[in-house]
Amino acid sequence: MKKYQLLSIIFLITFGGGSLCNLLRQQPANDTIKEISTLKTVLPDAESFSDKTGVPPHYKAFKTNPATGEKELAGVAFLTTDIVPEIRGYAGPIKIMVGMDTHGTLIKIHILSHSETPAYVSTLGQFIEQFHSLDIKNTFHLGKDIDGMTRATVSSEAIVRAVEKSMKIVAVKILYLHVPKVNTPKVSIPLDQILLPIILFGIAVLGVILHNNILRWVSLLGGLGYLGLLKSTMVSVIQIANIGLLKFPIFTNCPLWYLLVGLTLVTTLALGMVYCGSLCPFASLQELLYNAFHKIFPKKIRLSKVVDRKARYLKYTILFAAVLISLILGNASAANFEPYILLFTAHTTQIGWVFLMVILTASVFHFRFWCKYLCPMGAFNGLLAKVSLLKIHLGDDCGGCQICAKVCPTEAIKMDAFNRPMIDYPECVLCNKCITKCPKGTMSLQKTSYAKTG
C-alpha cells in the first residue's frame, strides 16, 4: 500500500537528513570552546591556562607562587579521547576532561559528552566523584578502588581505564613522573551473548515456520528472562539512532548488540516481525498481563476501526521524532524513553514511572498496547516486514469464513470486497493463529504471496 511506501520514504529522509545534520554539526570550534570553559572546573585553583599543545595534547595550568610572586605550573588538564581514543563506552566514545596536579594526583574529572543510555548511567555523577584524590600510584581496580555503575559495567570499565591510562601517560611524558605499570584487564568475549541470542532466534524462527505456539512462548519467555531480566537490553530505536550516528560498540565488549541488531534485521527481512512477535521481552510481559486478565474477565474491549487504525500511526510519528532528535543532538539518549529500559533497569524519573504504569495498565485491557500504538521499533520492523521475503500465502479455496480476521490478536487482517483476507504485514506479529485456526488449512508461509496487504 502506498501509505507504507510514504512512511518508508519519510523514515529514509529523516534518517538520512538527520545523519547528514549530525556530520555537519560536528564543528571542532564548538568543542574547543566547551573544553576551555571546563578547564576551571577540573583545576579550580589554577589562575591561567595555556593553549592545548604537546604530545600527548594537554593544557598547562598556572598559579602564582605567593613567595616568589611568579607563575608556576599548578597542573595539567587533558581529554582522555585525545590520548586513549581506542577506549570507548558501550555506545561510543566518552569524552572526559581530567585535571591532575604536578604530583600526579587527580583533582577532578568532568564528562564533556557521552553516548550512553541515561537510564544505564543514571549514577554517573556519583561514579565519577570516586575519582577525586586518586593518583597515578593507584591501581584503579573496578570493584575494589572504585565501585562500578550497576548494569553499566562496560561504560564503568571504559571510564576507569581511560582515566587511568591517560593519567599515567601524561604523568610520564609531560610531568616526567615515575608511574607503576598500567593495569590492563584481560579481554574475553562473553560467549553467552553470542550463543543465547542465536538459540532464542532459532527457537523463534522454528516457531514461526512450524506454526508452533509452544515454541513461540518458549522464545517469548526466554527473551523475557535473558534479554529483559538478565541483560536489560532489547532491540530499540536507540540502536537505530546509534547506527545513524555511526556509533558502534566494540564487538568483544558487546557481541549481544551485534547479534540482536543483525538477527532482527535478517529475520524481519526474511519472515516478518519475528523479533516483535516471538522475542521482545516487553511484548512478552504485555501478552502475559493481557492473557492473565482475560482469563478472569473474558470480555474484550473493541475499539471502533477508525480510531484503532488512526491511533496506530502514532508509533511512526514517535519513530521519526526520536530518530531525528537523536541525530540532530548527536546522541541517541533522546530516544531513551522505551518502557522496557525503564522497567528492566529500574532507573527512571517520576515521569518515567508514571509512564510505565500507564502503559502496563493499558496493556491489561488492550492487546500489546505499547507495540500496536506507540513502539517506534515496532514501526521500524513493520516497515521492513512489508518487504519480507516470505509472507502468509492464501490458497485458492478460501471460503471467506472470516475466522482468520476474528482470531488475529493484533487485528492485522481485514476482508476485501471479495470477502478474502488482506493481511496488514506491518501489524502482523506472526503469532500464526490465522494459519492454525483456518478451517480449510488454506493459509501458509510461502515465498510468493497471494494475500494482499492492507
Binding site: 568532568h110 564533556l112 541515561p118 480510531v307 543532538l329 518515567g352
Partner: protein, 72 residues
Amino acid sequence: MQKQDKIFLASLGVTALLLVGIMAENIRSVLLPPGTADKIDVTKVKAAITQAGIIPYGAKYWKVIENKQPKD
C-alpha cells in the same frame, strides 16, 4: 464515538504527553551532562578563615580582621 474509544484516546494522549516529558528530560541530560559536584564545606572553610583572623576583601585579597592577628 463510543465510550471505550474516548477512554482509549485519553490514555493514549496521556501516554504520549508523558513520553514527550521523558524525551525533554533526556534532551536536557544530553545538553547538560553530569559533572562533578563540589565537595567543599563552605561553612567549615568560612569558620577556619575567621579563626585565622582574616576576611575576604575585594573578592581577590585577604584583609586582617581588626584587633585580631592572623594565626598560622
